[in-house]
């Protein structure tokens, strides 16, 4: 079955020349878009149109375009990663939109993610949190046997669920407090459920939370919006674990 064609849609997009510049919304008309087109392809088409018209193309983040790299972002019509659930923006297709619709495209609005240009934001803050403790220290040497440390299947599964986090920032972008708690919880949980993560558990929870606070992310008020916006459906139950890890670490200080 051939895809339907959207004869005309309006894209209202945030334009900002540089981090310090004052931004504004611009509305562009895009014609003849197949509903089988991905959202980012639609932006590509729009950008072609802008370039041919002698205008500056819209700067936006993207890389793998198959939902695994965590590079794409965009806040589309009041939803991080658009109106579909459990997908990143690159997996969003134009079949979710209607003829003549105005689509509002904004950058992540998080104080700790400053706008670089247009709808592209700087998510280095997440990397800084990771660097503060989101790792296990391993001495190099011979390759350990895979079965040396027995791990319950359920624990391994839960750790893997947390490790599915691609660090896209949709959680902080959608949270009314711009809180990074789901991200930090996922990064702490993936180690907290495994024996290899125990050695540095206390230091990790404290360091990552301290870095998150320092970078200006808000606090969690358990609205659960992050879990709904997360393209990897990471559960807020991990946030309870992070709170537990952090409190245990702090209480033993």
């Amino acid at each position: 079955m051939a895809d339907k064609i959207l004869n005309k849609i309006y894209v209202k997009v945030w334009r900002q020349n540089s981090p310090k510049a004052k931004g504004r919304f611009e509305t562009y008309t895009v014609e003849n878009i197949s509903q089988g087109t991905s959202f980012l392809e639609m932006i590509d088409i729009l950008n072609d149109q802008l370039i041919l018209g002698g205008k500056d193309p819209i700067a936006f983040d993207h890389d793998c375009r198959e939902g695994i790299c965590g590079m794409c972002s965009l806040y589309i019509n009041g939803h991080a990663h658009g109106p579909d659930t459990m997908v990143t923006t690159c997996q969003l297709h134009m079949r979710r939109f209607n003829e003549g619709q105005t689509i509002t495209v904004e950058p992540w609005r998080v104080g700790a993610f400053p706008v670089i240009k247009d709808v592209m934001v700087d998510r280095t803050a997440f990397e800084k949190i990771q660097q503060a403790g989101g790792f296990v220290s391993v001495n190099t040497g011979g390759v350990p046997d895979g079965n040396t440390i027995p791990i319950f299947q359920d624990d391994a599964e839960e750790a893997m669920d947390a490790a599915a986090c691609i660090g896209c920032g949709a959680c902080a972008a959608t949270c009314k407090n711009s809180s990074a708690m789901l991200f930090v919880a996922a990064k702490v949980s993936q180690f907290a459920k495994l024996p290899q993560g125990q050695v540095e558990a206390k230091r990790r929870a404290k360091a990552m939370v301290a870095k998150m606070d320092e970078l200006g992310f808000g606090g969690c008020t358990n609205t659960g919006a992050c879990e709904l916006a997360c393209p990897k459906s990471i559960s807020i139950a991990h946030i309870a674990r992070l709170n537990r890890e952090y409190l245990v670490a702090k209480l033993s200080d």
Binding site: E106, V209, G219, T221, A237, A240, Y246
Partner: protein, 227 residues
Amino acid sequence: MSNFLSASIGRKVFMSLTGLFLISFLFVHLTLNLFLIFDNSGNLFNQAAHFMATNPIIKIVEPILALGFIIHIIWSGWITLENMKARPQGYASGDQLLKWWAPSKNMFILGAMILVFLVLHLFNFWVKIKFTGDPLLGQITVAGAEMENTYALVSNLFIHYPLYDLIYVLGGILVGLHISHGFWSAFQTIGLSNINWMKRLKYIANLIGIVFAVGFSSIPLYFLIKF
């Protein structure tokens, strides 16, 4: 324990613990208040009020309760302000993910409305009983003990002022909504939750919210309809 008090999670632990403490207080409060409905002579309620006013343990708990309220209120303002600072610029397309009325999104607003209600409530009863007195609070004798007629003060307000009935019904509903999120959220914050318990705690939170909303609202409605 350094900087625990100012850390985002540390701040919230205060909200969580004071919140759970206030919920336990509300359980006692509701239980005693329901005596208003179950004994039309007012003796049962007057005895309960007299016990609460004179019992030494309650006297010790009273300032702790006040402190619980004060911390919960001040911390909520502090946390909300800090959270607002984390997003200097909002979204033009708003938030289409959660419903606008979701209690979890409106805890501060619900709390502020409850605070207004609380002040009014204190002036209605607590201030009169404790400090200023009221002609309705004449001494009566119940089961051989002299005590103030608190029942007369409460029933008079609910029987003669329908506007207050409406306000008290609203107050009950606000408290119910606040707790329907606050209860499970408190456990989440102190880490006493997981994927299984979260579902159970949310269920219990809704249940407690309904019990408080219906329980507290039923009292003014009872007096309004019955008398």
